[in-house]
């Protein structure tokens, strides 16, 4: 297990390096002169030259990348053109909103999906199974932003159960904060719930066929114990990987959900920065979110060894 973990950690380094390179390179794809684009047509040549020098854009690309990577490692994600503040500071202010939203969504989706997937597997090929699977395939087919708009339309505008605009941080007033987060989190959770439910169903089906389950039943264990302690634990490996991958979808989906519900999170910040052509901010946010995603998948892979100890032999 240790061997695998160390190898997995070593793989992590080149991946991080290439991710950083891609984010760096992304901004170099701007057609034309990036500085000109960022500052607008009215900027005078001296300002342009000053900004170019400040950002080190007058030097050769490999050196630019080296300098940039060095400052990122030291925690300097660049300076926003719009606000002239360090990008990392803005990220730090907005990230709590995004992490609360995605964590809540993760929680909702697991609560919905794992029981659903298990039930569908237990009642395979019956009406219940077909009903759940119909729900999940609808769940993976409906776009997140549309579900968001619909839930706003129904629950905020028509029924008035939830506020439709504004935001109160959950750490300032928990219950009021929650009312602002429930709709976005449920919306965001549905897609992931559908995917995880399907994965749980199929890996449960694979496990339930095995002899040790028959053995556990023959031993006289209660069905609940058989399903949860014996079947679910072994079926959980593939589900866990799916959850790791889906967390990335949540982060990406948060950009869309935060835009629909006007939440002041990282995703909204990315969109505002994009529309303001604030490329250092866009670059910083994308790098930050990619790093979070890479780390989460690393943690998931390491956790996998707990659920499936056989992994060390591969």
């Amino acid at each position: 297990m240790l061997n695998y973990s160390i190898r997995r950690l070593l793989y992590f380094i080149p991946t991080l390096f290439i991710v950083a390179f891609m984010v760096f390179f992304l901004v170099r794809l701007i057609p034309g002169d990036p500085i000109q684009v960022m500052l607008g047509d009215g900027a005078n040549p001296e300002t342009i030259a000053a900004v170019r020098e400040k950002m080190g854009l007058d030097r050769p690309l490999p050196i630019q990348f080296g300098i940039w990577l060095g400052s990122v490692v030291k925690g300097d994600f660049g300076t926003s053109i719009q606000t002239n503040r360090p990008v990392l500071q803005s990220i730090r202010e907005r990230f709590p909103v995004t992490i609360t939203l995605t964590t809540l969504a993760l929680l909702f989706s697991l609560l919905l999906s794992i029981p659903t997937g298990m039930l569908a597997a237990v009642y395979r090929n019956t009406g219940k199974d077909y009903f759940f699977m119909l729900l999940t395939i609808l769940g993976v087919s409906a776009p997140v932003f549309w579900l968001g708009l619909l839930s706003l339309l129904v629950f905020s505008v028509k029924l008035g159960w939830f506020p439709s605009i504004g935001f109160v941080p959950i750490w300032e007033d928990f219950w009021t904060g929650l009312t602002y987060l429930i709709l976005p989190a449920v919306t965001l959770a549905l897609h992931m719930a559908a995917v995880v439910a399907r994965m749980t169903r199929s890996s449960m089906l694979e496990v339930l066929r095995l002899e040790y389950i028959t053995h556990a039943r023959a031993k006289g264990l209660g069905e609940g114990k058989v399903l949860i302690k014996h079947a679910l634990k072994n079926a959980f490996g593939p589900t866990l990987t799916t959850i790791g991958i889906q967390y990335g979808q949540l982060l990406g989906g948060a950009v869309i959900t935060e835009s629909v519900f006007s939440l002041p999170g990282l995703g909204r910040y990315v969109m505002v920065s994009i529309h303001a052509r604030d490329y250092p901010a866009v670059q910083g946010c994308i790098l930050f979110m990619a790093l979070i995603y890479v780390v989460i998948n690393l943690v998931v892979d390491l956790m996998y060894t707990y659920f499936d100890p056989r992994i060390e032999y591969n």
């Binding site: 080149p14 991946t15 290439i18 991710v19 390179f21 891609m22 984010v23 992304l26 901004v27 794809l29 701007i30 057609p31 395939i137 609808l138 993976v140 087919s141 409906a142 776009p143 997140v144 932003f145 549309w146 708009l149 619909l150 706003l152 339309l153 505008v157 199929s202 990335g248 979808q249 982060l251 990406g252 989906g253 950009v255 869309i256 835009s259 629909v260 990315v270 969109m271 994009i274 529309h275 490329y279 866009v282 994308i286 979110m289 990619a290 995603y293 890479v294 998948n297």
Partner: protein, 273 residues
Amino acid sequence: MFMRKIYKNKLGLAGFIVILAFAMLALAAPWVSTHDPLKADVMNWKAPPSMDHFFGTDEYGRDIFSRVIHGTRISMYISFLSVLIATFFGVSIGAISGFYGGWIDNIIMRFMDAVMSFPAILLAIGIMAVMGGSIYNVTIALGFVYIPRFARIIRGSALSLRQKEFVEASLALGSSDFTIIFRHILPNCMAPLIVQITLSLAYAILAETGLSFLGLGAPPPAPSWGNILSDARNLMLDAPWMTVFPGIAITMCVLGFNLLGDALRDILDPRLK
């Protein structure tokens, strides 16, 4: 035989029919739509659904039904072309990586891992932010983002296939690498490839509409599904029909690809069932 299996799989057949219907709508959009999707009609703004305007009108009096029909064109065009790009490059890269192995494989796969280290939609957002919104750019961005999925599938098969006797025999007979990849390796990867193509089409439509909703797709006033929904957001109280109908169209279309993809997986690759 194959068609009969599809036919027997009722959900798969339903998916296939839905896709066929959307594809035909996309081709016949100018004849099916009842109004010009871009023409404003201020006398009829925010009109609710009626016999004249099946899905109602928006704040400029543009006919939502016609805009949704023309939106089919944009979504179908972008999703098919982007998946084509991803398939072409993914298959080529995966085949080279798996066939040659060694350091070539190592470098290529590290790059593929890095691309997959981004949440797909986030990477597409980043690329669009830099390149600017246009149908052409969305196609390229999505095509790029989906390359690793294809590369991984083909690489896996190529790695195991090149150890097989029939590949060695072919090598011994003097076949070129190119011949082996095309004659022996690719035909053996068809099943998972077809499933991946179908499911990627579903993702591509979701991603395209999402990008366009965020203002990073085809620029307005193009009648893309995402654009209509983006307009609808400010008119939720006055014109709820603008929110309802385009979303149903997207969900139906994506559902079609997902149903067909699931059915194909069951038929072509029973192990994954």
